[in-house]
């Protein structure tokens, strides 16, 4: 067990965002958290990553290092890609040689060209920036990685590539991850288990496990599972109905 939430609840200004949330994350496991926007996914992840102190319940962490990848790359604009990737290492007091070696190695792992390492974030495309952000997370050799809708802003093809990258890295390096997304297809593709947050009330409405293992599912299985869940499973119906209703109201 890497992470355990026990009856965690949180409110902002008296408004309950999360309530009675309990789950565990096993070593090397990828758990996806899906739910409509505004349901408290980022709050949950912030609590897990220690950025938000929950008002109720307990969080147990059994690991030494975690890293995070956010929806926006959140790179330091005054640092080159190399120094951004090495940021976490620098915080841990790693020397310059080690930082540069690790940055070069991870740049290769996330398919960044060597010459991009000397560029500043403004000089990189959106996809490259997110690759740098992912490399920065991998650089500290984390036991748990928190992802908060990391690929939402990218186009479909790039999203696929980076999803595969996450699955491969998680398998190769053995880190566990909590992966927040509101894209059910993405959840089905990359996760061992999918937790569904309710539209209102901040509770976990239920949990499903897609057939097979991440990385071992072909496109068809992913697509069919997603469609079946979306159309036949009451658990998802209530989540995505609510989302569609909101979208229609907004439009």
């Amino acid at each position: 067990m890497r992470l355990a939430f026990k009856a965690v609840g949180h409110s902002f200004l008296g408004r309950t965002v999360l309530d009675g949330v309990s789950f565990t994350l096993a070593p090397a496991e990828t758990v996806a958290i899906v739910g409509p926007s505004g349901c408290g996914k980022s709050t949950l992840l912030g609590i897990a990553a220690g950025l938000i102190e929950p008002l109720r319940g307990r969080v147990r962490r059994e690991y030494a290092r975690h890293a995070a990848v956010f929806q926006e790359p959140r790179l330091l604009p005054w640092r080159t890609a190399r120094d951004n990737i090495a940021y976490g290492l620098e915080l841990r007091g790693a020397g310059r040689r080690e930082r540069h070696e690790v940055a070069a190695r991870l740049a290769r792992a996330v398919s960044l060209a060597a010459e991009d390492l000397d560029k500043y974030p403004v000089e990189l495309s959106g996809g490259m920036r997110q690759r740098v952000a992912f490399a920065r997370a991998l650089a500290i050799d984390p036991e748990v990685v928190y992802f908060d809708e990391p690929f939402t802003a990218l186009d479909v093809g790039l999203r696929r590539t980076l999803q595969d990258l996450v699955v491969d890295s998680a398998r190769g390096r053995g880190f566990a991850s909590l992966f927040v997304t509101h894209d059910l297809l993405e959840a089905v593709r990359i996760a061992h288990r999918v937790l569904v947050l309710a539209h209102r009330g901040g509770r976990i409405a239920g949990e499903r496990a897609p057939p097979g293992l991440p990385g071992g599912r072909d496109e068809r299985l992913v697509w069919e599972t997603t469609e079946r869940w979306r159309t036949e499973d009451a658990l998802f119906a209530h989540v995505f109905d609510a989302e569609e209703r909101d979208e229609r109201r907004a439009a």
Binding site: L51, A67, R74, L76, G88, L91, Y120, I140, Y146
Partner: protein
């Protein structure tokens, strides 16, 4: 090699941009010359005559002591004002209640005319360098303070959350996330602080009869020596330009090289 090349390139661009600055100065000189030709030597001595007067002054033994007096007072006032103002501003920027307490105090300080501060400082410190420095500090602190508050208050909190998620404590977050952003707000404020320091230094010296360039200006006025008065003014401006373009701007350019990276080719200075 890449870093050295980039540094040399930046230095070259900086020196090259000096031509543009010189153009501006020569435009001022031309207008000055036109004014001289329209109104005559007694109202406005020619730029060249002023430079000649300055050269004459520079030959006199007391000149260096006088110039050094003013420069040291201005720089001391600037250092204290920029240091204290920035420090207070950073603290206030982190705390809304501190901003609320300090803001009216600053408005109050800014509302008191500098001339009143000079009178008060005269009573406290007598006709000395202390009066000059104290007046500079009081006049210039709010500028540095406002720059620092602005810098801290506009910091990117999402970057701070990122740093925290990677295990950075409060001090590390300040150093790696807030300071680089703060610099962009502090340098313009410090430039203004520096200008204020030199202006107030001369004014305070003149009014407090505390020697320095201000004292020399008072003497030139008493002797109705307009060329000499202009020469002293030119000297003060030259000192200010030297500190600003010799120290502040190069430091800033070195710290903010990353901003250039986002500028497309052809727009670079």
């Amino acid at each position: 090699m890449g870093a050295l090349g980039a540094a040399l390139g930046a230095l070259g661009r900086y020196l090259w941009s000096g031509w543009a600055g010189a153009t501006g100065l020569f435009c001022v000189a031309a207008a000055w010359q036109a004014g001289h030709e329209a109104y005559g030597t007694f109202i406005l001595p020619a730029p060249l005559d002023t430079l000649r007067a300055l050269a004459g002054l520079a030959g006199s033994p007391a000149f260096h002591a006088v110039a050094l007096d003013t420069a040291l007072r201005a720089l001391a006032g600037f250092a204290v004002a920029a240091g204290c103002g920035s420090l207070l501003g950073v603290v206030a920027g982190y705390s809304f209640s501190a901003i609320r307490v300090l803001q009216p105090i600053l408005t109050l300080i800014l509302g008191v005319p500098p001339i009143a501060w000079i009178v008060l400082a005269l009573i406290w410190f007598g006709a000395s360098g202390g009066t000059v420095v104290a007046t500079i500090v009081i006049a210039a602190v709010p500028i540095a303070f406002a720059g620092a508050v602005e810098g801290v208050a506009t910091r990117d909190r999402t970057l701070e959350a990122m740093a925290q998620a990677f295990g950075a404590g409060a001090l590390r977050r300040f150093r790696t996330v807030v300071v680089p952003h703060l610099v962009a707000h502090l340098f313009p404020a410090w430039t203004t602080t520096l200008g204020t320091a030199f202006k107030v230094a001369v004014m305070a010296e003149l009014l407090a009869n505390a020697g320095g360039v201000g004292g020399a200006l008072a003497r030139a006025r008493a002797n109705l020596d307009v060329a000499e008065a202009m020469a002293w003014v030119v000297l003060v401006v030259a000192m200010l330009l030297a500190v600003e373009y010799g120290v502040l701007h190069p430091v800033r350019a070195a710290l903010e090289r990353w901003r250039d990276a986002g500028v497309p080719w052809g727009v670079k200075r």
